[in-house]
Point group: C2
Chain length 213, copies 2
DNA sequence: TCGTAACTACGTATAAAAACGTAGTCTGAT
DNA sequence: ATCAGACTACGTTTTTATACGTAGTTACGA
């Protein structure tokens, strides 16, 4: 097999640099490109098509889910391996939708990255043992028949303001809306994200990559 | 100068492995040890004293602030460089208290890590340019005269339950307390963390490393 | 053109959080 | 023996959030 080129998409330069060095030490790896976020990745991919992209989920500017979608539009052959900090059910669904063919946690070790790369090169998908365990242990937490929890633009906007500590009244003033409208957005947010209250909502925003902290 | 040994303390194996490889490529670096959290670090330090420790703030089991304190009790000569995901004022204060002599963000690049190591070897302290910028731009956000925001055990316990989406009533039942007592704990939490409401409180819990997500 | 989804808005009611204040008990340090 | 801090608890009031229902407008695609 020929050497393969790889794209690393993550907003932490140190992480990228370290991972790049680990990857370039592998015999079958050619060029390793870096991008700081989804946007940089997509524009870079036009000049440097790659076999495999290791894509962080939580990034500013454009998150990993959106980046994976666009990357596959641009280059349908690309294998996207999602990298994440946490094991979280919302990711599996969104990333599968976005066309990812593998899922790795950042607290896995490099050997696992190698395995994942080998798997996706052979047209297989890869899921880390930790995540598999998680799914087997807590199947109720992996409700694949769940209602589509994609938030609208407005809902996302409201959610981020909630996370910034604004009250519905303050959000209404900021967005020039009725307070009752914001009440409704908030109600829908709780429903869609299956959250119970503000605290759960903030956690959701972070885990889903909508909120950068 | 002799070669120096370095400890990397971070809960993400991939990050550790990459950073280790970057460091071992430097001519003046000897052994590089890894620890998954503060506890592992402290017990490992007894067998392998090092000149410099790169310590993540947010870790399970024992966070970076506590780890830095104990490391300096164990080996007062150690230079602790704090590594963090965000630029956050609470960190500066706590880490300075804990005896850190440098501060780096994970989205800085490796050249900066080299600079920081060089600085602390020469008995200087190091602060990354991003953080310095942050301080200069938003001095009001760096209130070094702020009240001590250390939370008590009970407060931390309550805070984590709040983050899990429990109401005061539910927390009271879980901890076998009066709801009014939990009300008071929550009130004190808002005061001590200078938060405005539940949302800000959750963000605080995450940024301060109390809540692992 | 018909239907759907998003966005907007209001009514009403209850639950919870936030903002004051006070105060007793216990433990550990000086 | 005294003091401070942690933990506990209560009272009151106001503000916010949560829950449930309805409904008009607009934009976009089938």
């Amino acid at each position: 097999m020929d050497k393969i080129d790889i794209y690393i998409v993550d907003d932490h330069a140190l992480f990228r640099q370290g991972l790049k060095l680990l990857l370039t030490n592998l015999s079958f790896v050619g060029d390793v490109f870096e991008a700081n976020n989804g946007e940089e990745f997509i524009s870079g991919l036009k000049n440097h098509p790659v076999e495999i992209a290791l894509v962080d989920i939580e990034m500013p500017v454009m998150n990993g889910i959106e980046a994976a979608k666009r990357a596959r539009e641009l280059q349908p052959s690309i294998k996207v391996l999602a990298l994440s900090m946490y094991s979280e059910k919302n990711y599996y669904l969104s990333m599968i939708d976005a066309g990812a063919c593998g899922f790795l946690l950042k607290n896995s070790n490099f050997e696992e990255v190698e395995k994942a790369i080998a798997a996706v090169r052979n047209e297989n998908s890869y899921i880390s043992i930790e995540i598999l365990n998680d799914i087997l242990k807590y199947p109720d937490k992996c409700d694949f028949n769940t209602i589509d929890s994609d938030l609208t633009e407005r809902e996302t906007e409201v959610l981020l303001l909630i996370c910034n500590g604004l009250t519905n009244q303050e959000i209404a003033e900021k967005l020039v809306l009725s307070k009752r409208t914001v009440d409704k957005h908030r109600e829908n947010l709780l429903l869609k994200t299956q959250s119970k209250n503000t605290a759960s909502l903030v956690i959701y925003a972070i885990k889903s990559g909508l909120l950068q902290i």
